[in-house]
Amino acid sequence: MTILYDFLSASGLAAATWGHGVMILIGAVMIMLAITRRYEPLLLVPIGFGIMLGNIPMMEGDGHGVYDEGSALYYIYSGVREGVFPPLIFLGIGAMTDFSAMLSNPRLVLLGAAAQIGIFLTLLGAMAIGFTPAESGAIAIIGGADGPTAIFLSSKLAPHLLSMIAIASYSYMALVPIIQPPIMRLFTTRQERLIRMAPPRTVSQREKIIFPIVAFFVAAMIAPDSIVLVGMLFFGNLLKECGVTERLANTARTSMIDIVTILLGFSVGASTQAEAFLSLGSLFIFALGVVSFCVATAGGVLFAKGMNLFTKDKINPLIGAAGVSAVPMAARVAQVEAHREDPQNFLLFHAMAPNVAGVLGSAIAAGILWSVLVGG
């Protein structure tokens, strides 16, 4: 009887609180959304399961969690804590990204810059509410709609907010098809949504090979603190385009990125703690994150409209929304919205240009915030 009592008092049930229950429910909802609605399943399933695992109530001193030094989860989570996983994800993204759309129409790169306004306006909002400058920078990067970048920056600027920022970032990335369309419709007229863009020019293989090298040097010289992310992105792209390292590129864009995504998603999920997560602070973070995302979307759309005032070849402003990064979901949303108005209008290729430029823009913005705010 004593053995049974000891066993039960050391079990999860004895240490359970309502907070654990809510967190486990959140994890289950994420898994359900991924399976039934197909919302970013590759991310939400590992994160959701991680949340459930990380919130199994344990007696103090059991030492199995991501914060318990020596545990297996502690070592897996070190890839997040030390900012190792995000650059590896960027290597994989680089190895799977085709920059042809951007190379064929370089002016669309500016849309990727315009959408970063969400990051910097949210920085101000977070500071106004009372977050420290470093915390504000980490929260603001949610507007970049780039999970790895958000994790990378928050691990440097505000490690205590990392799990909330990562969850918010990935949640909003999954909700791109829901968040963006109303904003895109609000800021555009039907006439603008019907604009058909000129067919892109063909990009030579030589251009594709030279581009990652040149662009890396330009980005690294202007924003040196972005080299960790931008450097890995362009290195991965060079592996893809140079034509002689196909095996390396293939590994980077398949096995490697899959392994890192599993470890990153799972350990980020497991790092969520009910006490920190179910608080007023995290509500603010989620609210600021969605504001950041909406401002970024509007910024891209409005900038495209502004460019149309000065250019002869009109840009369909819907593709401005793809400047928020979230590759390739945001570009797909632009295509879907254009398709609703005109089934013969194909914007996907054009939208990929601001989309990949947005990845660059958010990585550069992260580098700037890191250099300015570290220690803040």
Partner: protein, 87 residues
Amino acid sequence: MSIPLYIGWQRILDGQGLEIAFTGMFIVFLALAAISLCIALLPKTVAAFGGTLPEGPHTPTEPESPHDDEAVAAAVGFALDEKNNNR
């Protein structure tokens, strides 16, 4: 983490928020505009200096690794062996 429930313009000024936001946005635009310019100049650069680079996608004429040959040979050998055993 304690967050007072009022909005503070002073907090933005104290934290140099405006300077950070303007400078950050400027640098992002500068970097991407510079990349955009480089892309616009890329065809001319390629014409001038890219002569030694391949023109089209790389099509390997030889196996990328001797291990590939061995793997194919092993697979063929296994298939023949299975076929013979089934007779």
